[in-house]
Amino acid sequence: MSFINYSSREINCKIVYYGPGLCGKTTNLKYIFGNTAPDAKGKMISLATETDRTLFFDFLPLSLGEIQGFKTRFHLYTVPGQVFYNASRKLILKGVDGVVYVADSQIDRMEANIESLDNLRENLADQGYDLDRIPYVVQYNKRDLPDIAPVDEMRALLNLNGVPDFEAEATTGRGVFATLKAIAKLVFMELKRSRTSSST
């Protein structure tokens, strides 16, 4: 749910990175944080366990340029990927404007990918969202590792609707900003579309 302030002339949106445990959601955010100009970002917050697994969420506020004289800000969140943190994942999806689904390309993680995608669909439905109707992109991460599935196969399993998808190596940054730009564009296109259709 975007937040528009006519007084401070700001549009704020919420993006959630979703995916199975250890697929690289936090690594995406860390790369964005490390490669963004200091004045365009806030502090990155990680609520993690002692072993650095996400416990509740990571949070990174990011400023993009201006649209129609309004500053645009994105709040990027990750969810905890581990199966038993489902209650937390549901909470983080509240008020989401766009979702990045991060898949792990390793062959032995395909089942976890599918399970997590089903879980995303269910949790979104619980919040009143339909995955087929919200801004949504897919990232095939860890393309640099051995024993990975071909992109075509992953697409057939995880991206049946043909939403924008990207190959990535979040540790080196390949594909990270392309993914972010794609979801940001879709969010604004949806904001415009929803208002134009509701006013006609």
Partner: protein
Amino acid sequence: MAAPETVIFEEEFARINLVCDRLRSDANAQVVFIVDKNGQLIAASGETEHLDTTSLASLTAGNVAATGGIAKLLKEKEFATQFHEGEVSNIHIQIVGQRVILVVIFDQRSSLGLVRLRVRKASDELNKVFDTLVAKAQQPGAMKVLEEITDEDIENLFNE
């Protein structure tokens, strides 16, 4: 789609800021801020220069969401009030009208009793302002800025 956007207009923004300023002064607090339930900071008053209000807003909303999850498991509607006591600073968190979160940070110059009393009064005022905002946001043309976004605007965001 799910819930509509939160929109704040200038007139109501001024009223919200006024409520925050008055509450800070009446409760003898250091900082007062208002966050929407999704973690977006709406307004802040007081000694905020050294505070990361964006992170505070996000964490407060996360905290409220987690507490709401606990309430649901216990079949409670919500736990509308939270209080955390520190060695120097204390934080009082109040859900207002099930839609926004009113946060008061205070030290030994104030007391929990005083903060609770003043928060109650401010909550009533804020409810009125947010009722007005909801009504205004539904009027035609309220989201003009979104209707006027062009494809070029969206492209330009990434070309700067």
